[in-house]
């Protein structure tokens, strides 16, 4: 794990609870009482007619659908070694709660991926410090 080759996120003070949640294998979403959860984490509700700064963190179910996707054939780290080689799926997941997020779909044959396919979260502990939210078909 120490030699993880992919790019790693660095949290900001505003996103720290999101990354802390992932480390505990929880997908936490910033949530407005009136408008619901949003992605990506911001300390306010990003609906222009709301712009409420009273945000709570709520746990998402981890269920969703593939909204759209691509199959990359590029050897981009961490998909650049013999046992982790392209092709791989980059997908936009629409969470059950509504927001959409980019991720990878963990699937044996990338070409079996379909738009609107049901998926659920997989917590990928890529280093001791960072857990990435990935998805797999249900």
């Amino acid at each position: 794990m120490a030699d993880y080759a992919g790019r790693l996120p660095v949290a900001t003070p505003e996103s720290q609870p999101y990354w802390d949640g992932l480390k505990e294998h929880k997908l936490m979403l910033p949530t407005c009482d009136d408008c619901g959860p949003h992605f990506y984490p911001r300390p306010f509700c990003p609906m222009p007619d709301c712009f409420n700064w009273d945000i709570k963190w709520t746990q998402a179910s981890g269920k969703g659908k593939v909204h759209t996707f691509v199959i990359s054939h590029q050897p981009i780290p961490p998909y650049n070694s013999e046992d982790n080689a392209p092709p791989y799926v980059i997908a936009v997941i629409e969470l059950e709660e509504g927001p959409r997020m980019m991720s990878n779909l963990i699937i044996d044959d990338p070409y079996q991926t379909t738009v609107d396919m049901d998926v659920e979260i997989v917590f990928d502990d890529v280093t001791d410090e960072v857990t990435l939210p990935k998805f797999k078909p249900v």
Binding site: T12, V70, I76
Partner: protein, 400 residues
């Protein structure tokens, strides 16, 4: 129509001396050589420039490098459409008296990487929420909306492949085009291609094969703008700005509101049509930024040339010419002439291609295009995205 129509003109437009692989030139040298060529095209001196607009560089960097001290600057740098937006801002600045002669410059060492800034912060939204998922530049992100469009509207890879073939046919008529038959031998992939060649080319990032993707090049380009009152004092016929629009819709492609519609295209397009007092039926010639085959399809739909979802069949329409040749909808002889320089797909793409789209609109309107000249071009549209459909800029230009 609003007050900007026909108030400012483009009087100079040119690329760098060469495009392609230019490892002997830095980013700022490309800006400077473009500036010289556009000023020469206008027949005007660098000393006359008092407004400077550029992307991919801080205006001060370019001003210092050129040795000028402009009294108006704009460093809007929102990707490939930055230059359409610069033209719009230059129109406003000239009308307000903030400057008299505006110079817009582009220079990018997109292939050789000589002083080419790369990558963003790992703490930025892109660094936290997209980069960790093995995003590898535009082929893996500009492709993201495509399969949703396929799913909703039945668009296919075969449809997109026709755009690549049509655009290559234009490149074959342009001596400057990197993949055209003038510059690249067939055994190195140059010259005519068919839709089947596109589908047979190497897979880069499904749904994009190699020939769905633009070339990667070094180069630059520049424009000179002045007020309509002075526009006839220069070397070439003026090209007037009739309408212009711009928008910022999102930044990360995962956060695009609707992956089948570019909101920015619609907002910028509506503003351009409104200021020009024109609609899609009035446009004779289109330069639609083509980083990938899908990009201009989205423009044709979101700018009202074809109903939403019908872009695929529209571009895949072909007919047979007098000598048995295939005539593509958007290719030479087709009834929707688009990307007549050979496009980002086959002419040149530095990273921020929008400048080259504007230059070709200017040349078509001046009637300077030789073998690829489209007959009767009086109104041309140059339109592009910045980022992955994130921002947008639209220009409606005319020769009278």
């Amino acid at each position: 129509m609003d007050q900007i129509r026909h108030k400012v003109a483009i009087v100079g437009a040119a690329e760098t001396d060469d495009l392609g692989q230019l490892p002997h030139m830095s980013r700022l040298a490309l800006h400077a050589q473009s500036a010289r060529n556009a000023l020469d095209d206008a027949g005007i001196s660098l000393a006359d420039v008092d407004g400077l607009l550029c992307a991919g560089a801080i205006p001060n960097e370019v001003a210092e490098y050129l040795g000028i001290q402009p009294r108006y600057i704009d460093g809007t740098s929102v990707g490939g459409c930055s230059f359409m937006i610069h033209v719009r801002h230059a129109v406003a600045a000239i009308m307000a008296g903030y400057c008299d002669v505006a110079l817009v410059t582009h220079g990018e060492s997109g292939r050789s990487g000589v002083d080419a800034p790369r990558g963003g912060s790992a703490s930025s939204p892109g660094g936290q929420y997209e980069a960790p998922f093995a995003i590898g530049g535009a082929p893996t992100t500009f492709s993201i909306p495509v399969l949703r469009h396929f799913h909703e509207y039945g668009t296919t890879k075969e449809h997109l492949a026709h755009i690549a073939a049509a655009t290559r046919a234009w490149a074959n008529l342009n001596p400057m085009a990197m993949m055209g038959s003038h510059r690249r031998a067939p055994e190195r992939g140059g010259g005519p291609i068919t839709p089947q060649d596109v589908l047979n080319s190497r897979m880069i990032c499904y749904p994009f094969n190699l020939l769905d993707c633009c070339v990667v090049a070094d180069g630059g380009g520049a424009l000179v703008l002045v007020s309509e009152e002075r526009a006839k004092d220069y070397a070439k016929d003026p090209v007037y700005v009739l309408g212009a629009g711009e928008a910022a819709a999102h930044w990360m492609v995962s956060q695009m509101r609707d992956h089948t519609t570019a909101d920015g295209y619609r907002i910028a397009g509506e503003a351009a049509y409104k200021s020009a007092g024109l609609g899609p039926q009035d446009i004779d010639h289109c330069m639609f930024y083509d980083a990938f085959t899908f990009t201009p399809l989205m423009a044709a739909e979101d700018l009202g040339f074809v109903p939403k979802g019908e872009g695929g069949p529209f571009f895949a329409e072909t007919r047979t010419g007098p000598d048995g040749e295939v005539i593509y909808k958007s290719g030479p002889g087709g009834d929707f002439p688009m990307n007549t320089n050979g496009g980002g797909l086959s002419y040149c793409h530095t990273g921020m291609y929008g400048m080259f789209a504007i230059i070709e609109s200017v040349r078509q309107l001046r009637g300077e295009c030789g073998d690829r000249q489209v007959p009767d071009v009086n109104v041309s549209m140059a339109h592009g995205p910045g980022g992955m459909f994130a921002s947008a800029g639209t220009l409606i230009l005319a020769n009278a």
